[in-house]
Symmetry: C2
Subunit: 421 residues, 2 copies
């Protein structure tokens, strides 16, 4: 059996029939290198928006089960058309939706997680020389209910398929040329990275570097599948290779800088300093599927016997969170709640910062020099995040990019030859 | 368990979101009568045309397997939107595609026949008080390949579901108000029939009265399911009830007149008068899935030891048929072949003509009086068809409508009360 390459093309790459023909060429190119090729595609262009609008014309609150039924038709169209386009270029191909493959997920509509991928039918098609074109974003439960995977769903489909098929590599084709040290729209001197580790890209992605969804990166990390982010429109470009930190030559403590404006900060004031109050609060939020990022609980003021609890979350979840807080007010006994929308989460990320002291201090000092106030701080092994005023986010990113030595293009690139992946 | 009513709505009935909301009202109306309701829908309006055009943009000859994958997405959209619309009107509903139901077909793409319909999941939903909205036109093979049922597919889906569920009735909602004694566009005095038998509608349909596909009628007949053809836009109209001939009070030898312009006549000249030549010809045509209607073989001319064989078939199949004839020329040894496009097949249909002599003679005499030449004749128990020049078809239909007493509106309607179906 040949090495398997999984390719993923997003909605803009298959926006019309001409673009689909071009994608077929990219598929043939990989196939002609002697690989078995599995292609994962999203719905064409604005299909999802059009379908969503039709649903909203019918009812303002369509059920998530029927929304999944509706949206999953989008990939149904693109997989069939791409299979036809590949066949038209003389290569046998077959399209498969999630039910046909057996992409088994939890029974949660609109954001299901993949539990298992059946590979027998795919492998049979590959052995017969066919390119297999698979619908991204969608899954199916044990009892044949159609689910969708939520944000970054097609990336996750592709990487999970690559893992299940033990693919040599998963190529995420997109409209950018790779992953940069920071957002080039903010810092024009941002440099394209030739390599980055799963851990770093994950921290960058969850902080607003939207090239690949963290779920997809996490899935790649679990299976240790090398991922290449590359341009649909520059097929000869290498792009950026994502692989395990232990397989990289680590050069700099900081690989990239991210800035995330999608969050909101909630502060719950004067919560009684009793055991279990924080548990109550975050348990109720979790029940409503609200993901919380940073959490800070102020130290208990002995005189008042109360705390303030602050946390950040997605702006979209604000109404849901406020409803939860209203409901638990009798139990939580807080004095008031306020929401702060004008925040940005600025992070420095790098597997190389492990065991290197002084990185955090350098970041705080840089921000202080600019007169930027730090509202909250969160750290992990390979990331330090500071919540700052959203108006100052770009200043912070620019300064940190320079301070951590990312301005020079060569530094961001890997030394020596690129690996043959 | 309540009586089950299966409703079927075609593409024009669900052409946009407003029309889908109206269909939801028709569904609720039936549900509120205390019935369990299963709804079968086609793809919205011109969806199938749009999808077909995209496929043709990709390649002039898309594979039928991928066309089925592509086209089946059309009903995926309409079932989800209709389920949402029913929910929005306060009634629980669930959409199901062919895979989810288990509408098992042969593994023949683009015109599969239904082998089995699994009813357990549908019944479970109905027991929970839900309206079940099912994708018409599509099926699935044992190994999860998606198929489509070809022409009249959604009607067939609806009637087959009604049969499998032992429904009280299957309502085919359409843009006409029922079935007429002949095409009202040709004979304005055509009368709407209150009742017609399966056998009669089948003969009428296969002769160009396109209200319901003969496959669908045949399926209803097998299960003895009463079918009502009724208007989506006049919900209070009774429409036309189709049921078994033995359940009808037969009044007139001729119930309806049909005229079919979709056929072509092929004449194969001077075929040797040997055993097996006709078998060879029609066997090879059947291999290419070409359906032949009338067949006439001239008596063998003893002096020449050859026959002429004439037959009719769909105009669309002409190129395929000519290719077959070319291939078998060395074996069939005919002198020449010609095709006659300017033909019409005019038929009189009526379960009441069984055992009544003179009906055929009356038809031939009517045509002779008009100076219309009969090119071919075919008869069945309840139908007599004459192939005539297409220019004279309307004259023939008009005259036959009068001669067989169909002009008077009352005669075409059933005597006494309508059955409570």
């Amino acid at each position: 059996m040949n090495d398997i390459i999984v390719q993923k093309f997003g909605g803009t790459s298959v926006a019309d029939t001409e673009k689909i023909k071009n994608v077929a060429k990219a598929v043939l190119k990989e196939k002609n290198l002697g690989h078995d090729v599995v292609v994962v595609v999203s719905a064409m262009g604005h299909t999802t928006d059009i379908l969503t609008k039709m649903a909203k014309d019918i009812t303002p609150n369509p059920s998530s089960r029927e929304m999944d039924m509706l949206l999953s038709t989008g990939e149904g169209v693109s997989i069939a058309l791409l299979a036809m386009a590949i066949q038209a270029q003389g290569c046998d191909a077959v399209s498969m939706n999630a039910i046909q493959v057996g992409i088994i997920t939890e029974k949660i509509h609109s954001k299901a997680r993949i539990l298992e991928i059946k590979t027998d039918k795919i492998k049979q098609h590959l052995e017969e020389g066919k390119v297999v074109v698979i619908a991204g974003f969608q899954g199916v439960t044990d009892d044949l209910e159609i689910t969708t995977l939520g944000r970054g769903g097609s990336d996750t489909s592709a990487v999970a398929l690559a893992g299940a098929l033990k693919a040599k590599r998963c190529d995420i084709y997109t409209d950018v040329e790779g992953i940069y040290s920071t957002d080039p729209r903010i810092v024009p001197r941002a440099s394209k990275l030739k390599q980055i580790s799963y851990e770093e890209i994950m921290e960058l992605a969850s902080n607003g570097a939207n090239v690949m969804h963290p779920r997809a990166v996490e899935t790649a990390m679990i299976h240790n599948t090398p991922v290449r982010v590359r341009s649909t429109f520059k097929l000869d470009d290498y792009g950026t290779l994502i692989l395990g930190a232990n397989e990289m030559e680590i050069q700099k403590p900081v690989t990239g800088i991210a800035s995330d404006l999608s969050r909101i900060r909630i502060v719950v004031c004067d919560v009684p300093d009793n055991p279990g109050t924080a548990a109550l609060l975050f348990n109720e939020l979790a029940k409503e599927n609200i993901s919380v990022d940073m959490i800070i609980q102020s130290y208990a003021r002995k005189d008042l016997h109360t705390n303030d609890i602050a946390f950040t979350m997605e702006k979209d979840d604000l109404n849901k969170a406020m409803k939860v807080l209203e409901q638990i007010k009798p139990d939580l006994k807080y004095s008031k709640v306020f929401a702060d929308e004008k925040i940005a989460n600025v992070s420095i990320v790098g597997a190389g910062m492990i065991g290197k002291p002084g990185i955090a201090a350098k970041m705080f000092k840089t921000l202080a020099n600019l007169g930027i106030n730090i509202k909250m701080i969160a750290t992990s092994d390979i990331k330090i995040s500071c919540l700052v005023d959203s108006d100052r986010a770009n200043d912070a990113v620019e300064a940190l990019h320079t301070v951590f030595g990312l301005d020079s293009k060569e530094i961001a690139e890997v030394k020596g030859d690129l690996p043959n992946i």
